[in-house]
């Protein structure tokens, strides 16, 4: 093989040059398409005499949001601007999405295990659950949960408290640690505590993998999380107090209040997503070689020990990537909040857009917000995935 022979290949037969040409052509097409879209937007804006600016975010929002705060900072519609109200919506979205992901995972894994149960009734019930829920639209399910189930509960004046908890058609009210109004915001402490807990978990899991020494990383993480919360509580001068719900003439005050909209959206998203997670769990468990169960049982480990110590940890590796997809779906489906009047970020942005006439910008912001949320979830899932990768030669 000499260089003269290589040089004699014409460019349209040279693999490397062909690949380069294809890339250049593709790039040109993409740039042209983007230019077309931008030009179109500009023309449209000019026709309606609008300009694409985000200055309106500094104006006073002036509309009420039914629930939520800007991450612990109370929102006042008469003085706070659009910028702040977006964060109230984002807070509400995150509240329902994060809670939803955790609950959907727990419920989905349980139903998935039930699907594989040798108990005929359990298996059938799980099958019916999965097939009904994943084969009907989530919007229909949300309507059922909201209008039929939640709004069908007794009125607050007739609701009987159970252990101080009120459940009525105006939602759930339960005793809780609540923020004192004139004290520093405790919410950032919770976020920092959770992040530190996750970091501790990552550190000790990694150490376990490196040294082979079994370390209770989960317990250390929980201890770190609690410790930071407690230190933060005292460092900020005890900004939380115990509050119990009290029934008044116009509903309940005090304690932790959960709106019927939040409840319906949470239940709807959890139940819907759990049916998919159940199938992912089933596939994950079935992907584990039967020999693993046999080896565990031959060693004398029981059914639940085998499942918990041997099968699920291995199934989880297969489950994580599709589980990540379900988390993304759940987060994006939370934008259906608008249908039952929950003040999530899209709902708030929609109102802001209608009121200010800056619909293009608000939808643009909505897109960016969901993009950032999705990328964050995907990043965390990938992080977990690579942390628990099987080690082979």
């Amino acid at each position: 093989m000499n260089s003269q022979m290589q040089a004699s290949v014409p460019f349209y037969r040279d693999v490397k040059k062909l690949a380069l040409i294809a890339q250049v052509v593709f790039l040109v097409v993409v740039v042209l398409l983007i230019a077309l879209v931008i030009n179109n937007i500009n023309l449209g804006l000019k026709k309606q005499n609008l300009n694409f600016s985000f200055d309106f975010l500094n104006q006073t929002a002036g509309f009420q949001v039914a629930e939520g705060t800007a991450f612990g900072v109370p929102y006042d519609s008469s003085s706070d601007n659009y910028f702040k109200v977006v964060f109230v919506g984002l807070y509400n979205t995150l509240r329902v999405a994060v809670t939803g992901m955790i609950l959907a995972t727990v419920l989905g894994v349980l139903v998935g295990i039930g699907r594989l149960s040798s108990n005929w009734l359990v298996g059938r019930l799980a099958l019916v659950y999965v097939e009904i829920l994943r084969n009907t639209p989530v919007l229909v399910q949300l309507f059922v949960w909201y209008f039929v189930v939640i709004l069908g509960l007794p009125a607050i004046s007739k609701a009987q408290p159970i252990l101080g908890v009120y459940l009525s058609n105006s939602g759930l009210a339960t005793p809780w640690l609540v923020q004192k109004p004139d004290m520093p915001n405790f919410f950032p402490v919770t976020i920092i505590a959770v992040l530190i807990g996750l970091a501790v978990f990552a550190f000790f899991s990694n150490q376990r993998a490196r040294t082979g020494k079994p370390t209770p990383a989960g317990w250390y993480a929980i201890a770190a999380w609690l410790l930071v919360q407690i230190i933060g509580f005292f460092a900020l001068g005890q900004p939380l107090e115990y509050g119990a719900p009290v029934r008044g003439n116009f509903g309940v005050t005090g304690g932790l209040q959960v709106s019927p909209e939040f409840t319906a959206l949470l239940i709807g998203l959890v139940v819907y997503t759990s049916s998919f997670i159940a199938e992912i769990t089933r596939a994950g468990i079935q992907s584990v070689n039967k020999g693993q169960t046999e080896a565990a049982r031959a060693l004398g480990l029981g059914y639940s020990e085998t499942l918990q110590l041997i099968i699920l940890p291995q199934a989880l590796r297969v489950m994580i990537p599709p589980l990540g997809n379900q988390y993304l779906n759940l987060t994006k489906n939370s934008s259906l909040a608008v249908a039952i009047g929950y003040s999530d970020v899209l709902n708030v942005l929609g109102t802001a857009g209608n009121q200010s006439g800056q619909n293009l910008q608000t939808f643009f912001i909505a897109g960016i917000v969901y993009l950032i949320l999705s990328f964050t979830i995907a990043f965390l899932v990938n992080l977990y995935n690579s942390a628990t990768r099987l080690r082979t030669r």
Binding site: G212, G291, E294, A295, L299, G300, L301, L390, T392
Partner: protein, 255 residues
Amino acid sequence: MTQPLKDLSAAPVAIQADHVNKYYGSFQALKDVSMQVKQGEVVVVIGPSGSGKSTFIRCINRLEEHQTGRIVVGGVELTNDVRNIDAIRKDVGMVFQSFNLFPHLTVLQNITIAPMRVKKLEKAAAEKVGMDLLERVGIPEQASKFPGQLSGGQQQRVAIARALAMQPKIMLFDEPTSALDPEMIKEVLDVMKELATSGITMMCVTHEMGFAREVADRIIFFDKGQVIEEATPDDFYNNPKTDRAKLFLSQILGH
């Protein structure tokens, strides 16, 4: 080289099988299998593939369920009673053809998980047992690695250590060297030979004729779900009584 025969006539019975039948649907995998293994005896089960030898060995610790007949292990009858099954599994260790190590646990964790969970051994004590066993099978330096980082021979030695960690009275081997590269077979057989001289009861399905000859007290020949022949290794290899055994031996020893 044949070992001097152990005198097992006075030894108690470790495994007793009476008229065991097993079906997969309409296919009969085991036909009226009866046999007895004494404590401390090393029995090698051979036979062509599909002859039911693996099925039989897997019935002994209830990985497979037999339909009729009796199996008694260490004085406990194998019934649907969970307590009996658990008691038998505690006393019976098993080594599989495909190792079946737990890939998400380190080598040492693979060994300590059952003593800690089933026997409620303290972690330190379990790890001591685990390291001693790794020493015994010759790979203490691999303790903190994951199974996927080990060679096949090393993995199978870990699997043997894992089974021994429960201090079983009986060890079952289901073709322990069939999935190994030729140069790794010896290291596993050496561990098994050492084990055979330790006085533990062993039942081993294998195609390793040299091993069978060297360590077995008795050879049981299976074909089509039946026990065709039982004999000492010398008798079996030098003058097999049945035509089927003769044919089998000529085929595996002929090349």
